[in-house]
């Protein structure tokens, strides 16, 4: 377990969102708690990762994958998802200026940005509607190619407790993190709701560390 690999290295259907938006070579990150897709492992990186990739990387103030099938916007009938995407693409790490502006002006409480609830925004300057509210408002960062996992930018790893105990490569990663002072968080293995443990562990960590 050494790198995060762009989805483009896998088979894609021609009509999938990444193909339509031209992002198949990217590794995707959320600037916020884990939101999508359903997974049980998580890696939290520092913002320094963006600074290292400001030439090739980019961001959008929403989950770009939602544009193709899930989100709506006023001009959707006349504007393609790709055009809308291009119009809202932001450079790294400058998208954080917009993020700061959003936290100051779009949310009644800046912490609402992190919460897994459908909060009412004070304004909707981008104009997205429909789909998942968290994916609509969470900034997405894309870095082309591969991202080294065991790097100084890795702040924390999250995994179900029994996977660390039973999967040698996960345990080995946790051991590496232990040696390199990377935080480790474990949680009960998921039952029918696969995602809650990971999201809760991440939120607890963020609040504990940054508030």
């Amino acid at each position: 377990m050494a790198t995060l690999i762009a989805e483009g290295s896998r088979q894609h259907r021609p009509d999938c969102a990444e193909v339509e938006l031209g992002t198949t070579t990217a590794v995707f990150f959320y600037v916020g708690p884990f939101a999508y897709p359903a997974t049980i492992f998580g890696f939290l990186f520092s913002a320094g990762l963006e600074a290292e990739n400001q030439i090739d990387g980019s961001a959008t103030p929403f989950d770009s994958g939602g544009l193709v099938k899930h989100f709506g916007w006023p001009a959707k009938t006349t504007e393609s998802p790709k055009t809308f995407f291009d119009r809202h693409e932001l450079p790294l790490p400058r998208h954080r200026v917009y993020l700061q502006f959003s936290l100051d002006h779009l949310f009644a409480d800046p912490k609402d940005y992190l919460e897994p609830t459908d909060v009412e925004l004070l304004a909707n300057p981008i104009g997205l509607s429909g789909g998942d509210a968290i994916r609509r408002r969470t900034h997405e960062v894309r870095i082309p190619g591969t991202v080294k996992l065991r790097s100084p930018q890795l702040l924390a790893v999250f995994a179900p407790r029994n996977r660390v105990a039973t999967q040698p490569h996960i345990r080995e990663l946790f051991s590496w993190c232990r040696t390199n002072n990377v935080d480790r968080r474990t949680f009960d293995s998921p039952k029918e709701d696969t995602f809650d443990g990971l999201r809760s562990a991440c939120l607890d960590y963020l609040y504990q560390r940054y508030t």
């Binding site: 897709p37 660390v164 039973t166 999967q167 995602f195």
Partner: protein, 221 residues
């Protein structure tokens, strides 16, 4: 898109949102649902349940997207749909067969698997078959993640192998209040190994004798 809460009785299960290798079994899995009255409405995680009866915040995809995800090995399709029921769980056994049972039945089945595999893990450990013991202990922890005896065996294996890195990482998984008793148990297990070696040319202890000796120690009650 995210859908309104749905009564599970209006849904059927057509798969689960994972592809599990043998090393990850047994496991409770997250069902992929489909509306009974609209087979092109497939509901995938992340989602939650309200009162164990209403599926909330699921993401809706089409049947063709579901098949695409299956082709990309991101989920597993069931051989035939199962009617969804409240308070039930879908789980996959050691042979890769799926079961859909009440939570209580699932818990009992998994506890039974854990008990059987724990006995195998201990026997293998005492026979110094550490690789086997490690695998059996893993199965125990996948069936019953709070099984401290299986965790103690894993720590003991790391200790015997002088794998301090694994030992420390595994110890991090132990809840603080039980750390002392686990450490004593690990020492005891390692002592059993040494006893077994020392008594190699004497009458060997039977497994049940060994277990009785271990369990009689008040530290583990």
């Amino acid at each position: 898109m995210s859908v309104e809460p749905l009564d599970v009785s209006s849904l059927e299960i057509i798969g689960y949102a994972n592809v599990l290798p043998q090393s990850a079994l047994p496991s409770i899995v997250a069902p992929v649902f489909r509306r009974k009255d609209n087979h092109d409405s497939v509901l995938v995680p992340p989602y939650s349940f309200s009162n164990g009866r209403y599926l909330c915040d699921a993401t809706e995809i089409t049947q063709s997207e579901f098949e695409s995800l299956e082709n990309r090995s991101e989920l597993t399709k069931l051989a035939s749909p199962i009617p969804a029921q409240k308070q039930h769980e879908l789980w996959v056994d050691l042979d890769g067969q799926y079961h859909y049972q009440t939570r209580l039945e699932t818990k009992r089945r998994l506890e039974r698997i854990a008990a059987i595999e724990l006995e195998k893990a201990l026997t293998a450990f005492l026979n110094r078959e550490f690789e086997k013991s490690e695998l059996y202990s893993s199965t125990v922890l996948l069936a019953d993640e709070n099984n401290t005896e299986a965790l103690a065996i894993k720590i003991a294996i790391a200790k015997v192998k002088q794998d301090h890195s694994s030992m420390d990482t595994l110890r991090d998984l132990v809840p603080v209040p039980t750390l002392r008793s686990i450490n004593l148990r690990v020492d005891d297990l390692c002592g059993c190994i040494n006893d077994t070696l020392a008594n190699n040319y004497q009458k060997p202890h039977s497994l049940m004798h060994m277990m009785a000796t271990i369990k009689s120690n008040p530290c583990y009650q």
